[in-house]
Amino acid sequence: MEQSKGKIGIKEFIALTILMTGTKLADDTPAIIYEELQNAGWIAPLIVGALSIIPIALLIRVVTSYQDKGLIQVIDHLFGRFIGFLIIFILWGISFFALIIDTAIYTDIIGTMYYSRTPTIAIYALLMAVCAYGGKKGFEQIGSISWAVLPYIKVSVLIALVLSFFQGQTSYLFPILGPGEWEVIKESSLKLSIFGDFIFIFILVPFIKSTKDFNRGVWISLCIIVAEVTLAMMIYVVMFDYQSVMMLNYPYHELIRTVQLGFLTNMETFFFPFWLIASFVRFTVYMYIAAMLFGRLFKIKEFEYAIPALATLVVFVGSIPESPTQSIFEIRARLIDVSTPIYIILPLLIWIVAKFKGDLKHDKAKESI
């Protein structure tokens, strides 16, 4: 009927963005950051967030000046068929690769921390089955579910963090600058692409009710994500001290194993399902974006039908690496390094081309950013 246009409002959009990027605080991203930044790891999200303003602002400037066009259509429009194809191919490559290694990491978390004797393939298959199902349902549904579950997930994370804050010691945060201010800035900017998901969010512009909603949604979610990741990173240090936190593979999971509340000494099973739901939603979004790019590349209109096939591919590719905790950790760290330049250069390139083509001028009166 007329209600379902497949568009989502600002609330759903923010919820979706937060789940997509914010969930990173609970995987091995903190471990990657701590490796270089030691106890100053919590500064990294702040710097990354601040630096992310540039590419995001550029993209917003360009993408919102086209009515109802997403990043894919904008790239097509600006770069023409061939180069456009190439750029989208790179984007697809990154998103799909990220999907594979992230799901592999999450499967590994579930496997090593909770289900040590269950075969990886079973865990993986269940994870991807749910995501594929969700992806097939369409974008409006993904938005709805994000908004429906977000409060509960965030409350559970907050409870875990607050409890551990009281069990930890703030003095572990000192010496406050960690390895030194230049080191912190340098290493953080190299890790810029931990917020690289924001590029992919621009693909979703046509699904948002209005560009104004989109504009506001992006900034609000960026602020929330930066705040929550920073807080989480601080509390990991407060809980474990930097020497120990650098050795942990999955700080969030060690954290929820360690916190206690009154007579409940082992609470991780209380926090675990919320984390799982967040991960399911996160990968559903990834899945959907990867499928969308895939659909554009190979001219598949009904790209939702490609999702189950892609999901199957992910399961098989993702379960290849041996001892995933370490090997994928390395691949992931490298992916972050590799995609960082793209995160900066691509928006800049798009903006320059758009400027050159003069597409930004006539919209200036209408759009005020």
Partner: protein
């Protein structure tokens, strides 16, 4: 079209049920588990690279009144087995040669280490196995025993708390509140060892009563576990004092008094209230029973950038007087109160100074967690690491002062003057 779909679903459901019945993967039935509550670690006598493991396994049927449990009364509350293994991970299978059920560490509460083994350089390697094992949590406790852990476990027979996990939990909670033993988490042990600055204090206990000291009338405050004389019909095990670990190796023990002082000097780990005796300044014969409570945070004034770094520590405490055998009426006499206060301050400060001197001279670093405070003085980790707390500590000039605030003088302030009565 739809009907066949539902048939299809039925088939799926059936295969699902088959899977369910087969009982697979991580599925464990609770009643088929042997719950290890405590693991004992000893050095194997013959082979340097192996350890002697002692399991204390709890019997779930004891203490349960529920129906269906069966003949709980006839079974003992626990089972103890000791054997030699390479580590306490593979030992889970080895134990199955004796124990019928699958060994699980889900209820593991305490890791008991013998003093001999703790002083061994290789001890740390085995302890770090705990970080790999999924079922071992970081909040379990460490206990150091004087004797072999296997004999300690056998001798440890609590009379009233028959369920072993309950016994250990309550013991540690109470011991920490009374300031008799440190909390000694595995988490803290790892942290301190990795930070490589402070000393770690673990709880110390034994089941052997030390007969040598029985002749002397020893001040209980100066004792550690095994030196206190208990009579009556009770468990022979004592927990008192603490074992100090430097860089993961045990170096010494602290007496009850020293443990308590350590708590008072610690910036974060505060005991709730310590009951102790202090000498009466008005009459040398008598002791005054007091309750010492920390009065807010310990204050530090650190000056580490100097040639000889210095630290000024102020410990605020509230002291409540609980007995008054000399009969001096200081409740109503402000001059006497000031004198009392000063004497308390002197006494406690002296004790602090003794302990600090001991840590500086003998241990080379401190168990008070001061390095955490010192870290705030530095901006970068590299500066902190080059400062090298462990190396610098013995040379730091430390000034301790105590700020005593007198609390209540018991429920009844005034005291009968016994001399007057006798007249």
């Amino acid at each position: 079209m739809t009907k066949q779909k539902s048939l299809f679903k039925m088939l799926c459901l059936l295969s699902f049920l088959l899977l369910l019945l087969s009982g697979c993967w991580d599925q464990k039935e609770v009643e088929k588990m042997a719950y290890v509550v405590a693991i004992g670690l000893d050095q194997d006598e013959e082979d340097e690279n192996r350890v002697k493991i002692t399991y204390l396994i709890s019997n779930p049927e004891v203490g349960s009144l529920a129906q269906g449990g069966g003949a709980a009364g006839e079974e003992p509350p626990r089972e103890i087995i000791s054997f030699t293994a390479d580590d306490f991970i593979t030992s889970r299978n080895l134990a199955n040669t004796v124990v019928a059920k699958e060994i699980t560490y889900d209820l593991l509460r305490i890791l008991v280490v013998s003093e001999d083994f703790a002083k061994n350089k290789k001890f740390l390697r085995w302890l770090y196995d705990a970080t790999k094992e999924r079922e071992i949590r970081r909040d379990i406790k460490i206990l150091v025993t004087k004797e072999q852990t296997s004999s300690f476990m056998i001798d440890n027979q609590p009379l009233l708390e028959t369920r072993p996990h309950e016994y250990f939990e309550m013991l540690f909670n109470r011991g920490k509140k009374a300031g008799m033993v440190p909390s000694s988490d595995l988490l803290t042990f790892f942290r301190i060892t990795e930070a490589d600055a402070d000393l770690f204090a673990a709880a110390y206990g034994t089941a052997q009563q030390n007969d040598n000291s029985s002749g002397k009338n020893k001040d209980p405050e100066q004792a550690i576990a095994g030196e206190l004389q208990y009579g009556g019909e009770t468990n022979t095990v004592q927990y008192a004092g603490s074992a100090l670990f430097k860089e993961g190796i045990m170096i010494d023990t602290l007496t009850i008094e020293e443990t308590r002082l350590m708590f008072l000097l610690h910036p974060t780990e505060n005991p709730v209230a310590i009951l102790t005796n202090l000498p009466d300044p008005f009459n040398e014969e008598y002791q005054i029973a007091t309750r010492i409570r920390p009065n807010g945070q310990v204050k530090f004034d650190m000056n580490l950038k100097k040639e000889t770094p210095s630290i000024d520590v102020t410990v605020p405490v509230i002291i409540e007087v609980l007995t008054n055998h000399s009969g001096t009426n200081f409740a109503k006499d402000s001059e006497k109160r000031i004198k009392l206060k000063e004497s308390f301050e002197d006494r406690i400060t002296k004790k602090f100074e003794e302990l600090i001197k001991k840590t500086q001279d003998e241990y080379g670093t401190e168990p008070f967690g001061w390095s955490l405070v010192a870290r705030k003085e530095f901006l970068r980790i590299s500066d902190w690491e080059s400062f090298d707390w462990m190396k610098t500590y013995p040379d730091i000039e430390i000034n301790v002062s105590t700020e005593v605030r007198l609390g209540n003088f018991g429920r009844q302030g005034e005291m009968l003057n016994i001399k007057d009565v006798r007249d």
